[in-house]
Subunit: 249 residues, 2 copies
DNA sequence: TTACAGAAATTGGTTATCCAATTTTGAGTT
DNA sequence: AACTCAAAATTGGATAACCAATTTCTGTAA
C-alpha cells in the first residue's frame, strides 16, 4: 500500500501542548516584570492575549497554583507567589512509591544535602540562628514529647540548619526531600523508641555549628545521617511498603 | 457587641480544595493497585466515583500529567506513568527565577552538587560511563570547536558524570540548575577564550573518576568549580543582570 | 471460520453559558 | 467635603453541550 506517510510533524509527540503554553506564560510574566504579589490579567484577557482557549489557560494556571507559583483567588484575580507548596513533594511521593529504586536516591540526596548544609551553616550562622537551633534542641529534649511531636521538632531543627546555611536553593530542595521522607521518618522514631539516641547525635552537630567548625559539622551530620539511613532501611524492610494513604496535616 | 466570633474553622484557609482531590485520587490509585501502563476509568465515571465535577477532576489529572505521573491520550484514556518528566526540575526553576537575588545560591548549589556527584561517580562508574566520559573529553579537545559547541560538550560531560553517580534525584536537580546557568556559562567561555584552561581542568576529574578515587574527584571538581565560579562572577559583574527569559527546550 | 469494512459507542478536548462572590463605582445624604 | 450604601461590572468557578478521534462491536462477504 503506497499511501504516503502521515507526515511526521514531530519525532516526539510526547511534547505536551501545555508545555508550550507554560513557556508563553512564563515569557509573559518575565516580560511584564511580574513580581510576587502582583495580579496578572483576567483569565479571559490573558487567554486572548496568549492566543489560547480559556480552559487550556485555566489548566495551566491551576497547575502552577497547585505548585505554589501562582495563587488564584476567586472573584479577585490570580496573583504571583514565590512560595513552594508541599504538594510538589506530595506528588513526588507517588513517584517514589512507584519506583523504590528512586527512594534510595532520595535518601542519599537528602544525606548529601544535609551534610553540606551543615557545613555551610557552621560558616554562616548568626547569633539568631544559634538561638533558634538551641531552642529546638531544648524542645526535642522535653521528656513529655509524643513521638510525632519529637519528629516535628527534629524536622524543624534540620530545616533551621538549612536556613542558617543561607542558600535558598539547597534549602528548598532539602525541604522537598524532607517532606517526602517524613512519612517514613515518623515510623523510624516510633518503631524504635529512638529519641534518646537521636537526640544524642544532634547535640554534636549544634556545637560544631556554634563553634563555626564546618568540617566537624559535616562529620557530625554525616554520622547522624548514616545512622538514620540505616534505621530507615531497616524499617522499610520490616514493613513491606503497602499502605501509603495516611496523612499528616 | 456580643455576637460570638465566626468560629475559626481553620487558621489557614490557604488549603486548596484541589489538594484534597489529589489525595482522593492517590488513594484510589493505591487502592486499585494501579501500575504504570494501566488505564484508569473514564473522566466522567471517575468524577462521579470521587464525587466531584469533571472540570475539577480534569485540572488535577492535567496537573499530574504535567508532572509525569499520568499521561492523557485523547480518545484513548488516561494512563499511569512512572513519573519522570523534565518538568519537575522546571518547577524548581520557576521557583528560583522569580528572585534574581538567588543567583548566587544557584551557583553555589550547583558547585556543591557537582562536587558530590563527582565523588559518587568515582565510586560507581561502570566501563560504559568511562567510555562515554572519555568520548566527551575527546570531543571537547577538538580544535575546530566553536565556543557554543565546546560548551555543549562541556555540559554533556558534567551531566554524564551526574548519570554515572547513579542518583536520579541529585542528577535531576543538577540538570535544572545547569540549564539555569547555561546562558552565562556560554558567555564565560566565549568572553574569555577559556577553552584550553577549561579543558585542562577537566582531565584530572576524568582520571580521578577512572581511578575510582572519590576524594580526588571531589578535589578536582571543586577546583574546577571554584575557577568557573570566579569567571562567572567576573562576567556577571561586567554585564549587569537583566535578561532572564531564555530557554532550553 | 475468518477477514474486513462500517457503524456505534466511548474517549479526552473545546467552547459557550451561567453562577456566586468580590470589587469597584457613583449617586445620595449628612 | 466626607461618608454610606447599594447597584453594576468584573472576577474566577462550574456546568452542560458539543466535537474530533479512537476504539470496539457487528454484520457481511469471502
Amino acid at each position: 500500500m503506497a499511501m504516503d506517510a502521515p507526515l511526521p510533524v514531530e519525532t516526539e509527540d510526547h511534547e505536551p501542548p501545555e508545555a508550550e503554553l507554560i513557556r508563553k506564560l512564563m515569557d509573559y510574566l518575565t516580560a511584564e516584570k511580574m513580581r510576587p504579589g502582583m495580579r496578572l490579567p483576567a483569565e479571559r484577557q490573558l487567554a486572548e492575549k496568549l492566543g489560547v482557549g480559556r480552559a487550556a489557560l485555566r489548566h495551566v494556571l491551576k497547575s502552577l497554583s497547585l505548585l505554589g507559583v501562582l495563587e488564584m483567588k476567586p472573584s479577585a484575580g490570580t496573583f504571583v507567589r514565590n512560595g513552594t507548596t508541599d504538594l510538589l513533594p506530595r506528588v513526588l511521593e507517588w513517584g517514589v512509591f512507584l519506583s523504590p529504586s528512586r527512594a534510595e536516591a532520595v535518601v542519599e540526596a537528602r544525606r548529601t544535602l544535609e551534610v553540606e548544609l551543615a557545613g555551610l551553616a557552621a560558616e554562616r550562622r548568626t547569633g539568631l540562628d544559634i538561638g533558634r537551633l538551641q531552642h529546638l534542641i531544648d524542645q526535642m529534649s522535653r521528656k513529655d514529647n509524643t513521638a510525632s511531636e519529637y519528629v516535628d521538632w527534629d524536622v524543624q531543627f534540620h530545616l533551621a540548619i538549612a536556613d542558617a546555611a543561607r542558600n535558598e536553593v539547597l534549602a528548598g530542595v532539602l525541604r522537598s526531600l524532607q517532606s517526602m521522607l517524613s512519612v517514613w521518618a515518623t515510623r523510624v522514631i516510633v518503631s524504635a523508641g529512638e529519641t534518646e539516641t537521636s537526640l544524642a547525635m544532634h547535640t554534636p552537630i549544634l556545637h560544631a555549628i556554634i563553634d563555626g567548625d564546618a568540617e566537624s559539622a559535616r562529620v557530625a551530620m554525616r554520622a547522624h545521617m548514616d545512622r538514620a539511613t540505616r534505621r530507615l532501611y531497616a524499617t522499610i524492610a520490616a514493613d513491606s511498603i503497602e499502605s501509603f494513604s495516611q496523612k499528616t496535616t
